[in-house]
Structures are given as structure tokens and as C-alpha cells.
Symmetry: D3
Subunit: 297 residues, 6 copies
């Protein structure tokens, strides 16, 4: 690359930074909750991308909060210990032994994310819903069936999250909670992210998924929706056009927006730097769920 | 119990509270590091006693910081996974698989302590040496032998501990660290407690052990020492009177006092409420290691 | 006492401290006003008990505020100066000379309490209702009769009390006020305590008295009431069952609860450490006056 | 007075305010200790003048601290109680009864000053050297003779003074202290003012006296000195030219300057608004004692 | 002047300072906006008087904010550059060249005021309505006629003013604003002062003018009004008794009072120290416009 | 552009942002002074580039401070008013009329920069060296010749700059100062930037110039130096290799580094986004002057 080409490249880079300026201004000091899971957690390069994206969001003045899952790892360790993972309605049947393993595995995942953030120079702190009594749960039933220590979040104490944010840490949260008697519960990571974002009145909640977004028609790949109002989202569920796995996620999105989160995004974690693309381009990527009245703003 | 007896009892209780007053005054706003391990961690009643003692210390104005081990639990899970725990010079040989298990098990122990503290109404946060980049390590050799991911602490960043203390949390610390490349290391809990107490210039560092204290002569049960100056402690090691297991512990004590911790205590964790006895009686229990010149103060 | 007995005693003491934990948590950062008078002020040992109790309350995180009287001392000094104390309806007839003596004697009592608190290591500051313009008065009449410089509190400026509390002092208050023209007034200490507690929206107001509490029937020593709702207290006065001296005190209690003090206690200052017993036992001692709707909480 | 005269007067007044501007700037946020005693305390009009002067100093941004005596009032009350005041070397022989009276009388004087300040709208708080453990004393001997509870200040805790200043109160201080055992001591008000000003590193210490200042020759009324360096002051004492009553005052001045007070003034409290004249005119009035090297600044 | 005369003078001066005390107390920490213009800006002595008055207001605890004009200077420079100043309905026709000159000239005036304040030791900062985006404008029409870049204030961002006040600066404001596209606008200084005072909810807004105040009858010099309620002011305009130049000023006053300014004053800037006379005498000078209901307070 | 191309572009952009991360971390909370002048001030597009670059620096956490010149505009207006600009040794001969024009023109330039910053959503405040008494000057002579009101900076009060920075404003500074008597002085913008950066102990001082940097040999375009140590810079001047116009600039750079600025940069303002290129690429552009010992860091 000769000198002129090199200069052109750096100028182009400088212009890219300048293009980000209005987005940096818009989201300054705003809390953004990232539900981190799926492929973006398995592929090492995608993983480092997500970490770097969160670091950049932090450095330009936003307050990212990461809520992560650990599904496949949990199954792996349950297996290593000679048990067989069981699921009812997509929810893991969680006997006391599985609960112990789940908590241990989620901690391992949690600290690995903390380590990656610290390695690139960002202050991070890994906690679970037990720390500071953050997530209180009650037993969640799967179609009326007792599936063990799977929890519904009934109360969120945001104090510890705010303490960490105010002291410049990125909180990394494992979805473990406890009930009023101190029993441990495994919480679906989507549910936990939704509860945390709602309690924080976050500006954004972004679900990193393995799909491109919500389709108007699950059978038509060209029907990707970039924006969905609450009404449209509810109709979509009612009309039966969205696939089964998407329904609980969409319901979480709807509830989060109703609880005060400004925008909820379903984005494709398999796309490199999907978070930056969402934050620093006009149209964003994936599907955004917003209040009906926000359409015209 | 008739009314007079009852009144006598409550008056006696009131007087006990009053007796604690000078100690409460003396330790107000002081940091005290508790190395929590041994039997006090296995017996549920002793465990709850330690938790309640720490809660009381917090409520009367001190800042307890708990550093815990998890030795027997780690061996148990290593075994469950079909491995055999190996030790060289009392240090666990830590291959990558063992390291993963150690970190997971310590997280489980960590969160169980947090849960107990939160259950009795104290704010607590469980972290490891990875959070906030707290504990940086390098490989520790056992008599020149490579025993895997066992770490020596080379640097302590106290920022996250102070953040938690300043926001009224009891920090509960799992002795896991990372090297400059981000690899995980298992740290001996005594070493970790010593490093943390030194970095914090703690007022006290209390080791909960399974012995009554240091004996002048390991073979003479009546020779328990209640105070040891640095010189005396060093002589004791030199003279060969202290038993093998005690030597690294004594060395840690000596180093902590040299690094600025005012008093280091070796106390018997099998004795109920040993922490309160240490803090709220004139003579204390167990053995205190202090600077030579502190004898006359 | 042999070793085992001694250990049993210290363990018992440790457990007593632990028993106090929930009460310490409950009252943390709460303001408690103590009306200090009667026998607890004359007997040196009881006096030191009250001082130590207040010191302990302070050290475990509450904010005690002491309002004291000085009745018998005032009469003594009025006598020494060759005057004869006069009373109308239990209120001291206060001519200008008596007013001067009352203010001087209350100052002496005030500073002796400050000295005792400072001697045991608690920061204390003695003020009167003149300092910071705290207590504004108007003349109080005894059944329409002018009895001189006896004041009704008409306005409380809490600024100086809060300044002292926020800087870790126990405020010790002499019940002297001034009217809008700057004339000095003697205020009944019960009235002053009631006005101060109401203005501070205190958590508790405790009257140290020379009785065990309120009796349902003044002639029946077994009819001591441990709790009285406002309605019950008002009925008791209406029904004529409470004795003469108790009526103004009960009226003060009623008014304080109505003004926002959570609980008002009439406790027996002759009982050693009565304050701690009240704060650190479930049932408390003496009689508590509470809002009607607080019964079921 | 016609309109033109009236306008001339108001313009003249406005110009007077403007003339004060450089002095207001110079002393902004500076602590000035006023030793208040002598005639300025007996004459009601002079008294109100001093109070108003202090109020003005406060409102234009300085921090006046008043230390007052009470000599003649104490003698009066000692007499009313049938005792005879006794003095050795100008110091009051202070038996326990006299000590009690002295403390009570000083409190009365103290609160009367507070009342006057509050009446004109200034926040004031009256304290003695016991409050906040401010003045610690030891017994002072008069030429080796035990004269009872007369104290030398050995330690000043300025915390309570700073608390009051920082919260916009004028501290009014009665010169009563206590020894390490809690016994009360009467302190010479000049000594107390000197100790307080030194501990506060005050900008100015002004003694309101009943003389015009220091004379070079006590027998020559025309030899009034407006400035004295430390050396000159020490020579003056050595040469025997200053009268007996002036010697301890001069020694106090010398010590205060040596301890860090920038300027000490001996001014005539019988002159109306002597404080303002001192603060708001170039030459000041009375005699200033300054460091040798400050002459040329 | 002999000594006695001199002492009488200083005492008289001291008394003048004391007389100001209640006003100093009354206006402590209050914001007062001074519209500075007219003769008080042209005569060097009057100019220095205004500056000193503002300095004194600052030093005794008020927060003066100066909004200045620059009319005659602008015309002078427009002339120097070979243009002819044009006016429609008393408003300067402001073509782009005139706008540039107006901004430059106002900056020069602005910095000269800052320099004078700094020279006498007061912290001052000169800003225009562009700094911190303080004054947003839209085009103002003169009877429907486009007169160029003359602006109506549509929005005031007070942030920069408060920043300066909180850091002890006197803000000196040039009446230049910008529209939403960033074009510069000249704003009538009276309009700017009115907008700023309203946005700050100032305690006072004082217009320094070249008249003595408002007359009940413009033809009767003895009909000067010292107070006008809003109703009276509106009637006066409606009745046609006030002169043409006074009408926009009166309308500004009315609007300011309606927007929350406590008192608006029209005072005679030709009278030396008119600001001090207004602030530190009971009756004040000139005409005050107040709310109807404020008459009886 | 098809979808794939578009995605590639956004991903490339995202990666550019990520590349900036280490630089953002490195300069967080650091003060960077930008001397803004030359072509970058005349070309509207370059001008907007500089403004946007400064905005971005602000938003990613640095504290840019802009010091600007106005040379050509001053000459233009001096000409418009019928005068002829005169220079001695490259310094403008500044008679009183020229001084007035210079101040006015610099104010105009100053506010135009403020407007541009505010238009893109950054808080900015335009001040001169007179505000807050920031720049004190004395007369500067050109080879011993009096050239009027041209000033050497003798003292910098950084208080107002820090006030603005702490409240999130970009300070924009016009190089006008005053002497101790309040006379206005024109200051060379390079000198002003150097004085300000030194007083602030800035992390960087960047001179935007119309050259590419410093050449080892002024006659050899291929000899551009990217780094110069102090010693090298001083030798370069001594050896006579640098051209005349560069000498004062280099001297300023040398002095700034000696006064505590970490790095001084001479960069080419004609290159678009030169500031970002300097801050966000490893090698930077132009020439950096650093301490001798900084070479190896």
C-alpha cells in the first residue's frame, strides 16, 4: 500500500469515527442491557468481538450491562457428572444436583467474560443474582408441572448494579437467583435480562440470538421486520405467524417495553460486531420492538 | 423462669452489650480481613456463627472482608469427575481440568456465603480475584517443581474491594487470580488473605484454623502462646519448635505484619463465635502476631 | 471460675451480642429522642448507665438526642439564693430571678452529661433551645394564671440538631427557649422532648420516668399495659383511670405520635439499662404508645 | 432634611460601603477570633454594637469566633451565695463551689450573646470547652500556689468549632474546660482565646479591652504604639515599661503570633464599633502585634 | 480634620455598614440581574460606580448577573466602516455586515466590563448568548417588517450562567443569540435581560435607565411612582399616560414579574451608586413593578 | 451497493471504531490543547472537520481546549477601517486602534467556533484571557523595539478553564490578555497556547500549521522528522537547519515540554481530520517533540 492509499485509508477511518458522533451523543450515560448467548458465545472470534463492542460502548460513555446464559456448557457438565439433561417445554428440569452444576458452570462462564474485559483494559465485575440480593425468585412451573429449581424473577434490587456502574465497572451477570428462604434458582437468561433491563429502566435491551430477527411470516425469509410496535408484536403472536421458540422471547420483549425499556432489539449474534452495527448505524440491524406511539418519533 | 430471673437475664445481657462498647469504638471504620476455612466451613452451625459474627462486626461499624478457601469441596468434585487429587508439598497439582473445577467449586462456596449474609440482612457481594483485575499472579513452584496453575500473588488492585466497602457490602473473595495473559490460577487461600490484608493495610487479619493457636513447644499442649512478636515468631520457626503445617501460616502472618497489617490472629474456628471472642474480650483467644515494638502499647 | 466456665461465659456474651443484631439493623440511622429525668438523673450509677446506653446506641448506628430536665437541682439553687420555689398546677412559677437560676442550673446539668459522654469517648455537644434559634416559645398559662417565664414551644428549628447529628455528635438539649423578642423561657422538659421528637420525625421518643409504665387501672399494680393505641390512650384519659401526674405525659405521647413519631415509650428509668432493654428485646419494657393502625404490624 | 440633603446622605453611605470593599475581599473566608470582655460586655449599647459588628463580619464572608469572659458576673453570684471571691496573682481561687458557680454564670452570659445574635438574624451556637472535648486542661498554679480548679489549656480539639463554622454558625465559647479525668476547670478567657486562635491558625485575634492599646511608656499617654513586632513586644516586657496587668496579655499575644495567628490586636472595647474600625480602616485602632518579618509587607 | 472629627467619621461609617446588615441578610444567595446601559455606560465615573456596586453585591453574598447593551458604540463603528445606522420602530435594521459589527462591538464592551471587575478583585466571565447555547432566537419583525438579524429570545439555557455563579464568577452577558441553524442575531438588551431574569427566576431585575422612573402622568414630573402593581402597570399602558419609549420597557417588566421575577426595578443610572441605593435603603429609588398580591407584604 | 457490500462496509466501520479503543482508553480524562490557526481556519470544510474532531475527542472522554488565532481576519478589518497592518519581526505592531480591532475580530472568530460546536451538540464556551483574569501580560519587545500592545504571558490563572472543563464545556480561548493595570494586549496565539498548555500540564499540545512537520533539512522534503527529543530540537535550532518561521514555534514546543506538557505536536492542518489521525493511529502524523527520556517509553 503506497502512501496515498494509506492516507486515504486513515482519512476514511477518521470519517467513520466522526459518523459515530451523533450516536455517541445520543446514548451518552444511557444504560444498555445486553443478553449474551447463542453462537456469539461459542465462537472465540465472535466472543472477542462482543467483548470489544461492549468495551467501546463503555469508553464512549454508555453503561453496558451484560446478562449471559450458559446452556450448552451446563448440559456438558451435567453429562460429565453422569446425569442426563432433561427439559420440559424448553425449560431445564433442575434437581438439586443440576442446580449446583448450573451455578458452578455459569460462574465459570461469568468469570471468563470478566477476564476478557479486564484483559483489554475495561473494569468489569462478575456477579450473580445472589450478590446484593439482586434477584429474588419463586418457583416457575412448566405448564403446571414442577420442574425443580427454575425461577421466575419476582423482585430486582438494582443497588449493586448501580454501585458497579457508578464506579466504572461493567456488571456481568449470571442468571442465578434465590427465593426468600435462600434456596438457589436457575433463571432463564432471557427472563433475567428482561427483569434487569426493566428494573433499570434501560435505554436499550439487546438480545444476541442465532436468528436475523423477527419475520412477518416464519416461512418467508424475505419478510424480516426491522421495527415492530407493541400492538404489531402482540398480533403476530396471536396470529400464529411466529415460530415456537420465538414466542417467549417476543413476550419478554413486549413486557420489557411495557416496563419502561425504550427499545428492545432482537439481533443476530452471528454477525460480527452486531452490537456496534445496531448502535452506530441509522437503521440498525435485526428487529426493534418499540411502543406504538414511538413510531413517529 | 420467673420475672426476677428474666429481668436479671436481660440486665446481664445489657451489660454484655455495654462491655463491648470500648471495642466497638476502637475498631470503628477499620478493615478486618477474615480468612475463612477449615472446620468452621464444614459444620453448618459453626458456619452460621461465623456469618453472624461478620454481620455484627459490619453493623457496629467495622469493615469485614472475607477470603475463603474450598479445599475439601474441590477434592470432592474432582473425584466426582473421575480424577484423583494430587498434592506436592501440600499444594494441589492443578492441571487445566482441575483449575476449571476449582474455580467452579470456589464460586459455589462463594455464593453460598453471600446467600447466608443476605439472608440475615447484610449486604454482601461475592467476587474472585479476577473481578476488577484484583489479583494478578505468576506461577508458583513447589520446590522447583511445576505443579500447574497454582499462583503466587504479584499485585493486588484493591479498587473493587473499596468500592464494595464504601457502598456497605461485605466483600466475599474466592482465591482465584489471573496472570498477565489472562490465564486462571488457583491461589492458596491463606496466601490470598495475606495479600489482600497487606494491600488494604488492614487493622486485623484473622485466620480461622483447626488449632487453638501457636504452641511454644508443639509437643506441649500447655504452651499455647497468646502473643508473638515478629522476632519471637521468626525464632520459633528457626528453632524448629513449630510443626510443619504451621510454618507457611506463620510465615504468612509475619509477612502481613511486615506489610502493614496491625495484628494478625491465628484463632480456633472450631470455637463458637471465635471472631466475637477475639474482638470483644481483652485477652482475645488464639495467638496474635504483632510488631516487636507493639508489645508495650 | 475455671476455664470452661469462663469460656461458657464469653460464648454466652457473644450470643447476646448476636441477639442484638436484628435490632441494630432495624434502628440503623434512626433518630431516637430520650427524655432524661427523674431518678435516673440523681443516682450516679443509673446516670452512668443511661450515658453508656446512649453511647452504645450511637456506636451501633442510631442517632440518640438527649433532652434533659433539672427540676430538683433548680429548686436547690433557688433555695441557696434565699428564694422559695413555687408551683401552680405542677408548673414552676418563674419570675425573672428564678428564670436566671433555672437557665444556669440547666446549663450545669447539660455540661455534666456532655462531660460524661466525652469521657467514654463519644462526641457530644450541649446546647439549649436558644442555640441556632432552636426553640421559639410563647407564655404558657396555668389554668389561665400567669406564672411568669414558662414557655409553650411554638416553633422548632431543627437545623442545629441535624448539623450536630451529621457530624457525629450526640446533641444534649437543655429545655430553655426564647420568645420572638428574645426573652428567656423555662420549658417543661417533657414538652421540649415532645416538640423536638415531633419536629425531627423521630423513630422513637423514650420518656425515662419513675414509674413502670401506664396502668389500665391506677389502683391495680398488675394492670401494666405494654402497648397502647392512640384510641386506647385517649379513652384511658377520658375514663379517668390514669393518675393526675400521668395525664400531661400521656397527652404529650399522644401528640408526638400524631405528629409523626413512630413509637413513644414510657419506661422506668430506675431499672438499670432500661434503654437497652427497650431497644434490644422483643417485648421491650414499660408502655409503648403507637398509632391505631400500627398494632398489626 | 430636604431631598438633596437626603440624597447626599445616601450617596455618602453608598460610598462608605464601597470603601469597605477591599477589606471585605481581603478577609473573605478568614477566621477571626474575638476575645470579648471588659466594658464592652457591661454597657448594653456597646454590647449590641459588638454583636452587630460580629454579625456584619459574618455576613460579608468572614468567620468570627467569640470567646467571652464573665468575671464581674461570677463575683456577683459568688457573693449572692454568701461566699467571698478570692484572687491570687490576679487569678480567681476556684474551690469546687466557685467552679460550679463560674460554669453556671458563664453559661448564662454565653446564651445571652447567642440570643442577641439570633435576634438580629445570625445563626449562633453557644458552647463551652467541654463540648466536643474542645479544651483539655491541667491545673494552673499561681506562683507555685494551688488555687483550685483554674486550668491551663493543654490541648484544643477544633472539630466542633469547624463543624459550626462550616454550617454557618458563629461559635460563642465559654472558657470552661476539663482535665483528662473529667473535672471542670475555669480558664482565663484571654488564655482560652489565645489557645483557640492558635489551634485554628486564625487570621486575626482581637482582644476587646478597657485600654486604648499598648504604650511605649506606661506613664506617657502620647506613646501609644500602633504596631509591635514580636521582638519589640518582648523587649517592652523585658525593659519594664509595660504595666503589670498588660504583661500576661502581651505574653498571650506573643505566643499566639508565634503559633501561627497572623495578627493579634489589642483594641479598645469602649470605643463604639471598634471591631469594624479595626477591620475596615487602613490604620486600624489600638495596637497590633505581628511577626518581625511582617513589618514590610 | 482633628482626631475627634476623624473618629466621628469612622464611627458614622461603621454605623452605615451596620445599617446595611438587614438588606445583606435579606438578599443573601439571591440572583439579581442588572440590565446595564444608557448614560451609566458612557460616563467613566458612573461606569466604575456600577462595577463597584456589583462587586459589593457579590462580596456580601448576592449573585449579580450583568446584561449589557452597546447601542451607541455599535452606531459609531458602523459609521467608521462607512455604513449608516438605520432603525425601524426603535429597532436597528441589522443586515449581515451590521450583525458582524454589532457582535464585535458588544464583545469589546463585554470584555471591558470583565476587565474592570477583575481589576478590583472580583472574578468575572464575559459570555454571549451563543456560549453554552444560552440564547436561542427567531427573527423579530418590526410591525411586520423584516429588519434583518434582530432576534426574539425563544429559549434560554441557564446552565452556563449557573456554572459561572456556582464557581464565584459574575457572568457578564452580551445580548447576541443564534437561531436553530446557527445564524447570529442581535437582541435588544432589555429583551435579553428580561429573558435571562425570567429563566433564572431572579429575585430582582434592575434596569439602569436614563430616567428617574415611571410617572403616573408623563407630563407631570411630580407624579413619579415608587411602586406599580401589574394591574396598575397594565392600566398605565392602556390609559396612554406613559411615553412611547417607556412602553416596551414596561411590557418587559410586566412579563418578567409574570414569569417569576420577584421585583423589577426601573432606576436612574445617572444617579451615582443607584444600585446600592436601591438595595440598601428601605424605600429604594426609581419605580418597582411587583405582583398585585405583593403590595401588602 | 448490494447488501453484501453494504454489510462489509459497516463491518469495516465497526472495526475502525474498535481500533480506536486503545487510544480512547489511553487519553481518557486527559487535557489536550489545540492551537487552531492557518488554513484549517480559512477553508470551511477543514474548519468543520476540526470542530467535529474536537467534538469526538470530547465525547470519547478527553478534554480538548482550543486556542485560536485570527491573523488574516484582523488584517482585513484593520484595512476596512482604513489602516495599514504593520509587522516587525513577524509581530503585528499594535497601536490602540489596532488593539481594539484585534480584540473585536478575535471575539467574532471565537464565537463562530463556539456556534459550530454548539450546532453539533457539544457544550462550548468562548472566553478570552481577560475572563477570570486568565492571562496576565507584560509588553513584548521585537528586538528591543516597542511595537505597542503585544504581550508576553507572565501568569496564567487556570481556574476558569478548569471550571468549564469540569462542567463539560469545551473552552475556546481568544489570545487576548491584560497587564496588571488592566490594559489590553494582543498575544501571539502560539505563545498563548503554549502558556495555557504548560499551566494546565496538558497531556498534549497540538499546533495546527500549514506545514507537514519539522524537516531535518529545510531544503530536503524527504527529511520529515516524526519525533524530536528536546536535545535534538535544540540542536536543530543551533545548527541552523530549520527555517526562520519555524524557530519561534520550535522554541515554544521546547518550552512547553520543559514545563510539563507530555507531548507537543506540529501537525498539518491542511490534512483532513489531522487531529483524529494524530490521536487514533500508532505513528500519528507530523512531528512530535518529547522529553529525551521519553524515547524509550
Amino acid at each position: 500500500m503506497n502512501f496515498t492509499d494509506k492516507m486515504n485509508e486513515v482519512v476514511f477511518k477518521a470519517e467513520t469515527l466522526i459518523e459515530a458522533l451523533p450516536y455517541i451523543q445520543k446514548f451518552k450515560d444511557k444504560i444498555v442491557v445486553v443478553k449474551y448467548g447463542g453462537s456469539a458465545m461459542l465462537d472465540p472470534e465472535l466472543k472477542m468481538n462482543v467483548i470489544k463492542d461492549c468495551a467501546l460502548l463503555k469508553f464512549v460513555g454508555m453503561h453496558p450491562v451484560i446478562v449471559h446464559g450458559g446452556g450448552k456448557e451446563i448440559s456438558k457438565w451435567v453429562g460429565l457428572l453422569g446425569h442426563e439433561p432433561k427439559f420440559v417445554e424448553g425449560l431445564r428440569v433442575t434437581d438439586p444436583e443440576t442446580m449446583e452444576v448450573a451455578e458452578m458452570v455459569l460462574s465459570k462462564v461469568n468469570k471468563s467474560l470478566v477476564t476478557m474485559l479486564e484483559q483489554i483494559g475495561v473494569k468489569a465485575a462478575g456477579i450473580s443474582g445472589k450478590d446484593g440480593g439482586m434477584l429474588t425468585c419463586e418457583k416457575k412451573y412448566a405448564n403446571g408441572q414442577d420442574i425443580g429449581f427454575v425461577g421466575n424473577v419476582t423482585k430486582v434490587k438494582t443497588d449493586i448494579i448501580n454501585t458497579l456502574i457508578n464506579n466504572d465497572y461493567i456488571p456481568v451477570i449470571a442468571p442465578i437467583g434465590m427465593d426468600v428462604s435462600g434456596n438457589s434458582y436457575n433463571i432463564n437468561a432471557d427472563d433475567a435480562a428482561c427483569a434487569v433491563a426493566s428494573a433499570l429502566k434501560a435505554e436499550k435491551l439487546a438480545f444476541l440470538t442465532d436468528i436475523e430477527g423477527v419475520y412477518k411470516d416464519k416461512n418467508d425469509p424475505s419478510s424480516l421486520l426491522s421495527v415492530l410496535t407493541l400492538t404489531e408484536a402482540e398480533n403476530l403472536i396471536g396470529d400464529g405467524y411466529v415460530g415456537g421458540g420465538m414466542i417467549p422471547k417476543l413476550k419478554n420483549c413486549i413486557e420489557s417495553v411495557k416496563s419502561g425499556v425504550s427499545r428492545v432489539h432482537i439481533i443476530d449474534g452471528r454477525s460480527p460486531h452486531c452490537l456496534l452495527l445496531e448502535f452506530f448505524t441509522d437503521k440498525g440491524i435485526g428487529t426493534a420492538i418499540i411502543k406504538d406511539e414511538a413510531v413517529y418519533n
